[in-house]
């Protein structure tokens, strides 16, 4: 087993490698422990082989206010399987070496706070987590964890939204690490048919502000949307649709979604 130093630098290098080959980034979101924790490594392996650029790994939480019904239900299924943050971290400590693409945690702040910020950061570093997205920790509240993450070289990925005013978009973009998560709709995660007309300008502005890749997420569900949206930035995150397809064992459709990011 080769020694890989996971973390922010690794995440940024890996994403840049994909972009250098003129591909767009495709980051699937899955709920850790949906279907039981023993499903996690096989699912990660499948997504890696299907061409995912990185994985956004959702940590189940009882009150996920940023998520729509699909992800809420996946979280409840995971909790019903007895999945815990500690369990996920322990599993990754053992098995992380089987997956070479970057892994990003997406977790609400309370499970981290309850775990203890210092122990959490130490443990996820050991588990080979490269970055973290915390949807209910806006810029103003990041003092809770920022320094610990920096010390551990784990990327704190910023979320920016259509409602963020321009100066704020710029400030958030400049501070993002790993990539910038551009929320494409006013709303929660979940399948949508239409995107706002202003998406084009929004993503173009973010591209100008950001030193790291700009990745769009929320509501993206078809290969066509993957193509359209990723043309406007550096790639996409697909969550609810991936969860649905995994539930239906529809591997083929997942591959098609991922390949849509490769047709450039």
């Amino acid at each position: 087993m080769s020694i890989v130093t996971n973390g922010r630098t690794y995440l940024e290098n890996e994403l840049n490698e994909v972009l250098k080959k003129n591909n767009k980034l495709f980051i699937p979101y899955i709920m850790a422990g949906d279907g039981g924790l023993d499903q996690l490594i096989p699912t990660l392996t499948f997504l890696q082989e299907a061409g995912a650029s990185a994985i956004e790994l959702g940590i189940p939480f009882s009150d996920p206010v940023a998520d729509g019904k699909t992800i809420q239900k996946a979280g409840i299924r995971a909790l019903q399987h007895g999945v815990t943050l500690k369990g996920i971290v322990e599993l990754l400590k053992q098995e992380r070496h089987k997956i070479h693409i970057p892994i990003i945690f997406m977790t609400y702040i309370n499970p981290i706070f309850h775990y203890g910020v210092t122990s959490f950061v130490r443990d996820i570093k050991e588990a080979g987590v490269d970055g973290i997205i915390i949807p209910d920790l806006p810029f103003e509240e990041q003092h809770l964890i920022k320094d610990e993450l920096k010390e551990a070289d784990i990327a704190l990925i910023q979320l920016v939204s259509l409602t963020s005013v321009s100066e704020r978009q710029q400030k958030i973009a400049e501070h993002s690490e790993g990539f910038l998560y551009a929320v494409t709709v006013n709303g929660t995660t979940g399948v949508r048919n239409d995107f706002s007309d202003v998406l084009h300008d929004y993503l173009r502005n973010l591209k100008q502000f950001s030193k790291v890749p700009v990745v769009a997420g929320f509501g993206i569900s078809s290969p066509e949307q993957v193509q359209t949206v990723s043309q406007l930035c550096d790639g996409v995150i697909v969550g609810s649709k991936i969860i649905e397809l995994l539930q239906n064992n529809d591997d083929e459709s997942i591959k098609q979604l991922i390949e849509a990011a490769y047709r450039f």
Partner: protein, 396 residues
């Protein structure tokens, strides 16, 4: 003691803050600015005062409960009669203020959550008055238990949306109201029902509710020429308590007591005793005391009183608990039911089950106080809504 909280970042000590998705940050800042402007604006203040007087029916009485006082043989007991407000509880003090704010911000649509339906009714009422669209999220379980309040809200023109996610109760209704707000942020204001949520909500709700404490202070001075020795209020999220306590915080001689719900007992898993049994955590936009498991998953709360059935407690209460300025005691369902009956019999006043927790705690405190002392109970709401449930409980 000078008390000036929250600080500019929305913190009461370590509690509070703005833990919300980025999409909401713009609206929260807009609200903060609008509120700071509004409270300086004489026109806004006049409008608010006039509605509180002529529509809500303020000021409501501070009533000397002579029979209860004699029965308990201790301090003079006064009841602050929030139950006499229009819609039957203190909730409307806040909904009127926030609806006027929404109007001022040019937002024509209102979203709110409700547990038993009291805040939902108070919100639907002011929306009818000010011609605002109104959507109320309510847990599917609560809808079943409170059919009459659902009808009441619909009668007032509100749309009531059933929430079947999670435990399908108040906590989940707040989640869903927050999600709805994110998706309709451009034209919608969220009227949160208690001193909860991201800054500036806990401050705004406290300020609008503090009319309770301001009136109490003035009224007791007129009657007794002094400050009360103790004040008791029930605490779920904690809005009536915060409104009552806030004007007295700097008066250190006044002992402040919050009654939280012990449900079937704090040694069971059926309670809502967030101060007694909870720990600090982050939910619904702020850091506060929470009922949570060892992994930081939020637990369900239980109380005979739907208004106290919430697994968190406002950030300012969390701070006042740590700083020991307020003493929080847990009152069981049984104690509250006893107080419910006692007040009904002795004074001819049927209190809400929520307020019955405050009455029960006051009864305990009365035993430790002298006849020269005075205690004020915040009677936050009337009990008509609860009589059917109490009847069933007493027949159990």
């Amino acid at each position: 003691m000078i008390y000036e909280l929250p600080n500019t970042n929305g913190y009461f000590g370590r509690y509070g803050g703005k833990f919300v998705p980025e999409t909401l940050m713009g609206a929260i800042k807009e609200l903060e600015a609008a509120y700071d402007e509004a409270i300086q604006d004489q026109h806004f203040q006049n409008r608010l005062q006039s509605l509180l007087k002529d529509y809500v029916g303020r000021e409501n009485p501070l009533y000397f409960a002579q029979n209860l006082t004699e029965k308990l043989g201790g301090p003079n007991i006064y009841l602050k009669r929030e139950d006499l407000n229009h819609t039957g509880a203190h909730k409307i003090n806040n909904t009127i203020g926030q609806a006027l704010l929404a109007e001022r911000m040019g937002k024509k649509k209102i979203v709110a959550e409700t547990g038993a339906g009291q805040h939902g009714v108070a919100t639907a009422t002011v929306c009818a008055l000010l011609n605002l669209d109104c959507v109320i999220f309510m847990g599917a379980e609560d809808i079943k238990r409170q059919k009459l309040n659902v009808f009441r809200m619909e009668l007032l023109g509100a749309k009531v949306v059933s929430v079947d996610q999670g435990s399908a109760t108040l906590k989940d209704a707040v989640n869903e109201a927050l999600r709805y707000w994110v998706a309709h942020i451009e034209d919608t204001h969220y009227i949160i029902g208690s001193v909860l949520g991201p800054h500036p909500f806990p401050k705004i709700v406290r300020d609008f509710q503090s009319v309770i404490g301001i009136e109490t202070k003035k009224q007791l001075f007129e009657k007794e020429g002094k400050l009360p020795d103790a004040i008791v209020a029930c605490v779920g999220g904690g809005s009536n308590a915060m409104g009552m306590f806030y004007p007295f915080i700097e008066n250190e001689s006044v002992k402040l007591f919050g009654a939280e719900a012990a449900g079937r007992g704090i040694h069971t898993d059926k309670h809502a005793a967030t101060m007694t049994k909870g720990s600090a955590g982050i939910l619904h936009g702020s850091m506060m005391y929470l009922l949570q498991d060892e992994h930081g998953q939020i637990q369900e709360a239980h109380s005979v009183s739907a208004g106290l059935d919430y697994p968190g407690v406002g950030p300012e209460h969390s701070f006042l608990h740590d700083s020991k300025r307020v003493t929080y005691e847990a009152i069981t369902d049984e104690e509250a039911l006893d107080a419910f009956q006692l007040l009904s019999r002795t004074e001819g006043i049927i209190p809400a089950l929520e307020s019955s927790h405050a009455v029960a705690l006051a009864m305990k405190l009365a035993k430790t106080m002298s006849k020269e002392e005075t205690i004020v109970i915040c009677l936050s709401g009337r009990g008509d809504k609860d009589v059917e449930q109490v009847k069933d409980k007493l027949n159990e």
